[in-house]
């Protein structure tokens, strides 16, 4: 280690703090529920060659990994010769950004002493982008909202008034959308000062040497971690609900020395509905799964992502072709870590969890007055709920906890203050975790009723209703999910449906799979599970052979 290396380490630390500040600023000023409450955003610094140098750790790992690729598209399409001080660029192109129209990526070039040195980029999920609204029911991306191609939001400091007018005219919440665009641009601008201060302190005028150091160090560490894995080909197949027909996802991992490739050949073709995934998003979430199992401690940047070579055949549901609908691409995206874990388990048993509920159970609720003449206002609210995670080889799965997404749930009291609904129940779902030496995490039960004078539509985006999370090494599957009314009426797992006044919607979220033979679970743990009502006495007897 040399003095230069110590400086580089310190600057690396500083850059991570700088992009965290960029993300924090965004969270604090955003309107979008999912940004604020769930951290559905990303922020990062890129060098001149569009290599990501540092990135804020936020709520949505797949989303941030996708942004890592996007800046190269901006450089190519804007053209290096057209990049000027004061410029701000943006897009929400699902294939060049982060996978659906609701995510807007904003890129701002940064300069030092008049010379272009790199880019700040950030992405946020916005409240509304027009079209049908957030949900899986469209048949083409054109129905899902406005697509903003890569273009200048601001040219040398002047914001494009035409763009703003077009957007205002096409979305339901223009004030909030435009507000979020300015927030994105402002958070890039605010942290540029920190970068400049750092460069002054360390006496550097460009980022190239520092970027090379970060890139090489991260890539080498990741390669070294891959080299620890046994060479070979490892595959896994997983079936999930899809929209109207099950989707089969297949991965083959090839580990050869310090190289790792993942290929999704054999995966189902595209759906007619918005559950399709652009390839960039497939790469993002598979990479997150691989990285968290193989090299979790290497910070996220171009160097640590590069060793994972991931591709899916164009036209499959994991590499959807334009103009496929892709609005709820997160559902299949969230299953990708489970899919690659299943293959990794064959290479490095004991290091990855069993399958979990994985896909978030987001619910968009549109409340409408039962009587159009009543004057009661409409109301929209988005809620996040999570099922159970898969059991680990040494510990139980986590109950009602998001994975791989990192979102948070919202307070029921806060939600009821802004929306005419009553949440009658939101608690753990007894017995839903798969049995095993380590038990799968429990799902949860949520019951929602319209308040008096109202009925509501909800956009279902739920999976693992027909396909439970499987256990590992003898562990049992978790319970699958249920979408129903409390009177017993069955509802669909996907699409827009009505809950009339006086009816109550019940969601029973899936549990995670178990790990290892249930008979080997410690008796104290089984007893504790019975005492705490995590499992029923019947399950204790039947699944674990426990009598007391």
């Amino acid at each position: 280690m040399t003095d230069a290396s110590i400086d580089h380490q310190i600057m690396w630390n500083r850059l991570i703090a700088v992009v965290e500040e960029q993300g924090t600023t965004m969270v604090r000023t955003a309107f979008s529920t999912s940004v604020r409450e769930a951290g559905d955003l990303s922020a990062g610094l890129f060098d001149l060659r569009a290599r990501m140098m540092a990135q804020a750790v936020t709520g949505t790992p797949g989303h941030v990994n996708a942004m890592a690729e996007s800046v190269a598209h901006f450089v190519r399409e804007i053209g290096p010769e057209n990049i000027r001080e004061g410029d701000v660029y943006l897009t929400n192109d699902p294939w060049k950004g982060t996978g659906h129209l609701h995510d807007i990526t904003v890129v701002s070039p940064t300069f030092r002493h008049g010379l272009h040195i790199g880019f700040f980029a950030c992405t946020a999920h916005v409240v509304d982008i027009g079209g049908r609204g957030f949900g899986p029911d469209a048949n083409e991306v054109f129905e899902e909202g406005v697509l903003i191609p890569i273009m200048k939001f601001a040219d040398r400091g002047t914001v494009s008034a035409d763009l703003i007018r077009i957007l205002r005219a096409n979305v339901r919440e223009p004030v909030q959308l435009i507000g979020d665009l300015y927030s994105l641009a402002a958070c890039n601008e605010a942290v540029d000062r920190r970068l400049q201060d750092m460069m002054g302190e360390f006496g550097i005028d460009d980022l190239e040497a520092l970027s090379d150091y970060i890139y090489e160090t991260s890539r080498n560490a990741t390669h070294a971690a891959i080299r620890q894995l046994p060479d070979g080909r490892y595959s896994n197949t997983m079936q999930v609900d899809g929209y109207d027909a099950p989707a089969t996802m297949i991965v083959e991992l090839v580990i050869d020395g310090d190289q790792l490739t993942a290929d999704f050949a054999g995966t189902s073709g595209m759906s007619r509905f918005g559950v399709n995934v652009p390839e960039v998003y497939t790469r993002a979430y598979s990479c997150f799964g691989l990285k968290s199992a193989i090299a979790p401690h290497v910070p996220n940047n171009a160097g640590s992502l590069e060793p994972f070579r991931i591709s899916a055949p164009e036209g499959c549901i994991l590499a959807a072709r334009r103009p496929a609908p892709v609005s709820v691409r997160h559902i299949l995206g969230h299953f990708l870590p489970d899919l690659v874990f299943g293959a990794l388990h064959k290479a490095i048993p004991g290091s990855v969890p069993a399958e979990g509920a994985s896909a978030l159970w987001n619910i968009q609720i549109s409340s409408r007055s039962c009587d159009p003449d009543s004057g009661l206002p409409n109301s929209e609210v988005l809620m996040f709920h999570s099922g159970g995670t898969g059991a680990r080889s040494q510990s139980d799965g986590l109950s009602a906890t998001a994975f791989p997404s990192g979102v948070s749930t919202m307070s029921v009291e806060a939600t009821e203050n802004v929306s005419p609904i009553i949440v009658w129940r939101k608690d753990l779902r007894q017995g839903s975790g798969g049995a095993g030496t380590c038990r799968g995490g429990l799902g949860q039960t949520v019951e929602i009723e319209p308040r008096s004078g109202y009925e509501f539509y909800f956009n279902a985006m739920f999976d693992r209703v027909d396909h439970a999370a499987r256990g590992l090494k003898g562990g049992s599957a978790g319970e699958q999910g249920f979408v129903e009314l409390t009177d017993g009426t069955k509802m669909q797992g996907k699409g827009r449906q009505l809950v009339k006044n006086g009816k109550r919607l019940r969601l029973r979220l899936p549990g995670g799979g178990g790990y290892g033979d249930p008979a080997k679970r410690s008796r104290e743990k089984v007893r504790a599970d019975v005492i705490g009502d995590y499992i029923t006495a019947a399950q204790a007897r039947e699944d674990y052979g426990f009598e007391e």
Binding site: M1, I6, V57, G179, T409, E413, W424, K426, G532
Partner: protein, 692 residues
């Protein structure tokens, strides 16, 4: 309270119990090792020692002020009471499900902290209120009685009650409490609508659960302490420091022990605030660095910044989200794992990492020679010439530089001991600077505009370098900083912050409901303050928590207290926009504005310290002894003036580079700074290039 009265401040920390005795002759202090088995005995020993040193009779003490980390420790170590939690049917698992997220994204083996009340001890009743307090499902008294019977028969030590939306209507919680108390009149029962009447069930339930969990222990502790003081002849009233930076009576403390968390750090912030005030510094950043952590707090207008919620007992590298989020008033601080004992290591990428693991006091840094083999920040400081090995802790521990060198070289491979030491201190300074910067940003402030107030064993060593990294141009190093928190207790006002959730859109602002709520809050708060200070004049601070409709988090808007009228909605809007502008640099046209919570603080007037005249006539110090130390900004070893703090009389100026030694620590004045002794015994350290 006059400055000539005899008062005593007692701060129990994890390692030391600090005593500060205020008497007509000044402040006498002492530091003793905490006895976890019998903390009161150490308190008494410390008081007796200080009193005899100051020649003060115990009977002449008129006030005892106490703060302790024992409550926080009990939570961390899960040593509280066996309690039951009664909640709304359907919401049994709020405290277990938490925010449903993971605080560390990439850790597949992550464990979440276990809830304070196990699932089998969480009971539900059928009842439900709406967000406006309307009864959607009445609580059946028969069901309440039956549950009360079950709980009482099961022999719980205390019971917490938390129902959904109870902050808007507490009648169901009271009905449940009544059912319990009619069966067991002495059972401690806490209601969420009393302990934390604010919106958001997770924090409100956590708060009432924490309160109940520690209550039996706190009440026993306080009872014993008071008895012990009485038997030693100290009949003075006892006050407890609360986390919001004020004092409460022991009776209030026993009712609402959740307010006692973080009382030590709050004392430290008050201590720093008094120095900021006496030095005429409007914006200050307190920087308290001890053996395990560093704490940073922003102080404006002589008052530490406070917040309504915070997280206690973090379980995972001090990471946000890994603790228990409670809503109770608190002096807002960031705490990071950076202290003298923080251990340095090389990570998988060959990079130096410092903390959060600490060598603590046992075995301590390698240089203590007590078996510690891992290099710490103290070892690095010793190697860089910043600590005098023969004069550490007034010579109580003889430091061994050889051990430091060995630890640094062997554990941080590939570096010479000197390079390793530089890298370790630079990394820890970088971590602290980053934390301070982000904290300022979160509050919409620029850290460059602040003056640092550095205390605690480690801070004076790192203050100048941290200032260099933050662009801060001046720092104050107060005297007596070793017992800063205990001194801070003596300077705190008696205060009580009442909070209330009252959700309204400004467009439908209900002045009557607001006035009613504020009147009740004012009465509550004044009653609590009167318990300790029946006839003293008080001040009242009013804060509304407001946001744009659609946003998820509120910002505090400080308001002048008034009797509201309907038309005040416009005035509220203006106040909100001013505050929003300050935090975020802009306002947003066309969006509705909402108020979620109110907070009203009543406190006795705090003592305004006499202003310190900055020394204008400076006396440069004559050349004298020197020693070498490594100046990180210059990346080179410099020959520094070496002297004892006692040599720096008021008006004496020492230009950096200099090392100023005292018993517990040393102040490093880097080449860019100069230090001037002040009349209150503090050092004012300023950048040479900003001095006129």
């Amino acid at each position: 309270m006059s400055l000539t009265t005899i008062r005593i401040g007692v701060d129990i920390g994890g390692t030391f119990t600090d005593i500060a005795l205020q008497h007509p002759g000044g402040i006498t202090s002492c530091k003793l090792l905490t006895d976890h088995a019998d903390p009161g005995q150490v308190i008494l020993a410390g008081i007796e020692r200080s009193a005899s040193e100051a020649n003060v009779a115990l009977a002449d003490i008129v006030q005892v002020i106490h703060g302790t980390t024992l409550v926080t420790n009990a939570l961390i170590e899960r040593r509280g009471a066996k309690i039951a939690f009664v909640t709304t049917e359907g919401f049994r698992d709020v405290i277990e499900m938490r925010a449903e997220n993971r605080f560390e994204q990439y850790d597949l083996n992550l464990e979440l902290p276990s809830p304070l009340v196990p699932r089998q001890d969480r009971c539900t009743v059928n009842e439900r209120l709406g967000p406006d307090g309307a009864v959607l499902l009445p609580l059946d008294p028969t069901e309440a009685d039956a549950l009360a019977r079950r709980i009482v028969d099961a022999g719980y030590e205390a019971v917490a009650i938390g129902f959904l939306h109870s902050h808007t209507n507490s009648s169901h919680e009271h009905l449940m409490a009544k059912a319990l108390l009619s069966l067991a009149p002495d059972l401690p029962v806490s209601l969420s609508s009393t302990i934390s009447p604010q919106m958001r069930e997770l924090t409100r339930f956590n708060t009432v659960v924490v309160n109940t969990y520690v209550q039996p222990m706190v009440s026993e502790y306080v009872r014993q302490l008071v008895r012990r003081l009485r038997s030693a002849g100290i009949h003075a009233p006892v006050f407890m420091m609360h986390s919001g930076g004020g004092l409460i009576s022991v009776e209030t403390a026993v009712e609402q022990p959740v307010r006692l968390l973080e009382s030590g750090p709050a004392g430290g912030a008050i201590y720093a605030a008094r120095f900021a005030e006496s030095h005429g510094v409007d914006q200050a950043m307190s920087f308290d660095m001890g053996g395990t952590t560093a704490k940073i707090c922003l102080i404006e207008g002589g008052t530490p910044k406070t917040a309504g919620t915070f997280e206690i007992a973090r379980t995972y590298r001090f990471k946000k989200g890994s603790g228990i989020a409670v809503s109770t008033p608190v002096v807002e601080m960031v705490e990071i794992g950076a202290g003298g004992g923080s251990i340095a290591s090389i990570d998988a990428l060959g990079r130096i990492q410092v903390g959060p693991k600490s060598a603590g006091s046992q075995p301590g840094p390698a240089c203590y020679g007590r078996g510690g083999e891992e290099p710490t920040v103290t070892d690095a400081n010793l190697m860089l010439g910043r600590i005098d090995p023969g004069n550490f802790a007034a010579g109580a521990i003889r430091l061994l530089p050889d051990r430091s060198g060995l630890a640094l070289e062997s554990r941080l491979s590939g570096l010479s001991a000197a390079d390793a030491a530089f890298a370790v201190t630079e990394m820890v300074d970088e971590n602290m600077a980053n934390a301070a910067r982000v904290h300022a940003v979160e509050n919409g402030r620029d850290i460059e505009d602040y003056t640092m107030i550095a205390f605690g064993g480690g801070a004076p060593l790192h203050a100048c370098r941290a200032c260099e990294k933050l662009g801060i141009t001046s720092a104050i190093i107060p005297p007596g900083a070793g017992v800063g928190s205990a001194i801070g207790f003596l300077q705190a006002p008696i205060s009580f912050e009442a909070t209330r959730g009252l959700f309204q859109r400004l467009a439908d602002f209900d002045a009557d409901a607001t006035n009613r709520a504020l009147a009740e809050m004012g009465n509550d708060a004044r009653a609590f303050v009167a318990l300790g200070a029946p006839s003293e004049p008080t001040t009242t601070k009013l804060v509304a928590f407001m946001r744009y409709s659609g946003q998820g988090w509120e910002i505090p808007v400080e308001l002048e207290l008034r009797r509201f009228q309907g038309k005040d909605a416009t005035w509220l809007l203006e106040a909100f926009e001013t505050a929003y502008q300050q935090l975020f640099g802009r306002t947003i046209e066309g969006l509705a504005v909402e108020i979620t919570n109110w907070s009203l603080t009543v406190s006795t007037r705090r003592m305004i310290p006499d202003g310190i005249e900055r020394q204008s006539e400076l006396h440069p110090l004559q050349p004298g002894e020197t020693r070498d130390f490594f100046d990180a900004a210059l990346r080179t070893t410099v020959s520094a003036r070496s002297l004892s703090r006692s040599e720096i009389l008021p008006g004496v100026q020492v230009d950096g580079p200099a090392v100023i030694f005292e018993d517990d620590t040393s102040t490093i004045v880097t080449s860019a700074f100069a230090a001037v002794g002040q009349s209150d015994g503090s050092l004012l350290v300023t950048r040479k290039d900003t001095q006129r």
